[in-house]
């Protein structure tokens, strides 16, 4: 984004490298190779790439679930490697891909209280915050229900709410749209926008390019442990060479625009959705 220079840097990744040890003596798997990135406040960043490109490995360095082989991750001026995971929880929220791995309480309300209790807040504060979160995420009507019995979409929202309750500045969403219908995706997307407005930095790891193109401000493309591009969705998705290297298929609107641009350079490189594409095509006289 053009104004990213003025935004406050929340997290910084410096020369990060991670090697998964395999067996004794062998070299191990080089999952991250010299990654340098900066993340700004009030921004939705999508990290995309094939399976095994290092997206999740990168993300797990932000709250200390993985420790760097070399390099640093700095959050709010402090090195993550020197801090405990449970300590990082109030700064970095992480919503896992499968909500079943996170939910264990008897009720949705308890689930939201769990993180707050871990932060050792006072009972009155916990109550207040729980009510606030239940309202914010529209979970009030199901607050007394058992999370396990809920549908996949709602479970995802509960998991998200339970993490957001701890008020993290940075929020990681690992594959938020897997197994979600259109309604669930829209709901999660809107929640992401809402949290961004509230001043949070959001990072989405996803294979859902439509979702990324619609909600992300910035896209980081990874292949084989390296960041090969970092830019706005329109820049990234119209760069065919990068898309091919990362084995990513851009959303169809961008793919159409790329095809047209091959013959006609004047086709604008803008943020596209179906309506805008149709309008631009009509203007060009390609759609009658």
């Amino acid at each position: 984004m053009s104004n990213s220079a003025e935004k406050k840097v929340i997290a910084k990744v410096i020369n990060l490298e991670h090697v998964y040890p395999v067996a004794k003596g062998s070299e191990g798997i080089h999952a991250l190779k010299h990654v340098n990135l900066e993340f700004y406040e009030q921004e939705i960043t999508a990290i995309i790439g094939q399976n095994g490109s290092g997206k999740t490995t990168l993300s797990k360095h932000f709250n200390g679930l993985l420790r760097p082989t070399s390099g640093q991750v700095i959050i709010n001026g402090r090195d993550v490697a020197k801090r405990r995971v449970s300590e990082m929880a109030k700064e970095v929220g992480y919503v896992f891909q499968n909500p079943n791995y996170q939910l264990f309480c008897a009720t949705v309300r308890e689930e939201i209280r769990f993180g707050l209790k871990n932060l050792k807040l006072k009972e009155s504060e916990i109550k207040e915050k729980t009510v606030e979160i239940l309202d914010e995420f529209g979970l009030r009507s199901i607050a007394g229900k058992q999370p396990v019995s809920l549908g996949m979409g709602t479970k995802k929202v509960v998991a998200l709410a339970s993490v957001c309750a701890m008020d993290p500045e940075i929020l990681f969403l690992d594959e938020p749209t897997t197994g979600q219908d259109q309604r669930g995706k829209t709901r999660l997307g809107n929640l992401a926008l809402q949290m961004k407005e509230a001043g949070r930095t959001i990072m989405i790891i996803s294979h859902d390019m439509e979702f990324v193109a619609r909600y992300a401000d910035r896209v980081v493309v990874m292949t084989k442990g390296e960041v090969i591009m970092d830019g706005t969705p329109e820049e990234v998705f119209s760069n065919e060479e990068v898309m091919e290297r990362a084995m990513i298929k851009p959303p169809q609107t961008y793919a159409i625009a790329n095809h047209i641009r091959d013959k006609d350079d004047s086709f604008p490189c803008v943020r596209l959705d179906a309506d805008l594409t149709a309008k631009l095509l009509t203007e060009k006289g390609l759609l009658k």
Partner: protein
């Protein structure tokens, strides 16, 4: 990720051996181990079992989980028996000193003998079982069990649950990460115990879910249509298998003969010091 399965792939004699021969060895060793009550025969079983393991998996035999278990058992059995076994009366002297523990009294020679014999017994059986689990792939194990007459469904259940252990381990790690990311503290031991609930519930729920999915997937592929399905890896007795089985049977009869003639060789009433035990059982009187 650490592999949890006990099987160590290889191509030794025991790897190529039919599963049933190895089961026969376990049976023979168990029977012999419980026929005798003397360190000499049991030490023979112990050493041969260990040698078999080394032949099968090399130096890994010394660092294998089950070998470590045997070592831990040695400390517990020999120490505990020495102090608490009611047979014990003669105090043992270690470099001229007797060892006394409050509430338990003196460390005794008979107690040491009991501990030693029981340890050798159990560890011979454990080591021969180690040979079986490290050299038999889960698929062979399943077909072996089926061939000695266990129902197919039971064998399948056994092998399926063995294969699920690594999956569950991986899942448990993800769950642990998920809860830690939610601020679950792991500073003290109490914290860790409290943390078991948030880890246990998702693990059980997801395991049950997976079982259900798996059972439907199995049924939709005609599982249970027959109780005698064709084997994926059919195994037949080879010459070497017959030879090994014969060796096991010969061993069994030889030791049964010794037992019939000489009894269980129990010398607990003839010993008065730890040195006696070794002198009487290995050198003769």
């Amino acid at each position: 990720m650490k592999d949890i399965s006990l099987y160590i792939p290889g191509n030794s004699f025991f790897h190529r051996c039919d599963c049933r021969v190895k089961l026969l060895f376990i049976a023979v060793y168990t029977v012999i181990a419980y026929m005798f009550f003397t360190p000499s025969v049991l030490a023979f079983l112990f050493v041969t079992a260990m040698v078999f393991n080394v032949i099968a998996i090399g130096s890994k035999a010394f660092t294998h989980l089950m070998t470590k278990m045997v070592v831990i058992m040695m400390f517990f059995l020999i120490i505990i028996h020495g102090f608490v076994n009611p047979v014990g009366v003669t105090p043992a002297t270690v470099y001229g000193h007797t060892i006394t523990l409050p509430f338990f009294g003196k460390y005794t020679v008979e107690g040491f003998y009991m501990g030693l014999v029981n340890w050798l017994r159990l560890s011979s059986v454990i080591l021969i079982a180690e040979l079986f689990v490290t050299t038999t792939s889960p698929a062979e194990m399943m077909s072996g069990f089926h061939k000695i007459g266990l129902p197919y469904n039971f064998c399948f259940m056994l092998s399926a649950s063995l294969q699920l252990i690594p999956i569950s381990t991986r899942e448990a790690n993800i769950i642990a990460s998920a809860q830690r990311a939610r601020g679950l503290s792991e500073k003290t031991l109490v914290d860790r115990f409290k943390g078991l609930v948030p880890m246990f519930v998702p693990l059980v729920v997801s395991s049950l879910g997976r079982m259900e999915t798996m059972s439907m997937a199995l049924e939709s592929r005609a599982f249970g249509n027959t109780t005698k399905p064709t084997e994926l890896r059919d195994s037949h007795f080879k010459k070497s298998d017959f030879a090994a089985a014969a060796l096991a049977i010969v061993m069994l009869f030889a030791f049964a003969g010794i037992r019939a003639v000489y009894g269980s060789l129990d010398i607990v009433n003839q010993i008065s010091s730890i040195r006696d035990i070794f002198a009487l059982s290995f050198i003769g009187r």
